[in-house]
Symmetry: C2
Subunit: 127 residues, 2 copies
């Protein structure tokens, strides 16, 4: 499989696949005579794995860690769960933060008449 084909199957840009190769996250299994990267099905599974993990906002380094567990026969589900729980806690923290952000801003927007007079509680609050 050349890079275009695996990228299509993994549903990500060619650039991204090449980037993952550059940072040694998912390496091609070889090169053609012309220097084209060649990939196998194992690489495809890794890319799909990463796409899913990235959708969960796992960082690249977390993906690397998870990928290690993914291919490690010795891993325990506790290892994986612990990483996922850490991520979940991060998400929950972000949610809380976003909620108070939302509430404050919504309050200000609600208080602003939005007419063509210059006085505005949003500006007052921010300033």
């Amino acid at each position: 499989m050349k890079i275009g084909e695996i990228a299509k199957k993994a549903e990500m840009p060619v650039k991204t696949v090449r980037y993952y190769a550059d940072i040694d996250l998912v390496s091609p299994n070889g090169r053609t005579d012309a220097g084209y990267r060649t990939y196998n099905d194992a690489a495809l599974r890794k890319l799909v794995f990463i796409r899913h993990a990235r959708a969960f906002d796992f960082s690249i380094e977390e993906c690397r860690e998870l990928l290690g567990l993914f291919t490690d026969q010795q891993r325990t589900s506790a290892d994986v769960k612990s990483i996922a729980q850490k991520r979940l806690a991060q998400i929950e923290a972000k949610q809380t933060e976003l909620q108070s952000l939302h509430d404050e801003l919504a309050h200000l927007v609600g208080a602003c008449r939005g007419d063509n007079r210059p006085d505005c509680p949003i500006i007052d609050y921010l300033g």
Copy 2:
């Protein structure tokens, strides 16, 4: 006021104040003979304004826009409200996204026994 003083009053790192000067977001009103940036109270108010707006995840460009309105006597509250509403919609979209992320991941974490056996629904799902 020199940069250290205004940074302290505005509650942000000196580096950040210097950065805002570099990108012409908040310029010093002059320089000392030695080349030190000098700031006045108007600059301080702008920095505080920006810190608040940034806490709402307004981008620097949005801050620039808001700052323009802030100092523009001709602005109407409708101008400001429209920017704030746009931002509110972005926050709400992010919240929805984060919620489904949370639910999916929480489901997976809940399904994982987290013992020392290798089979793990999180890995199964991601792979």
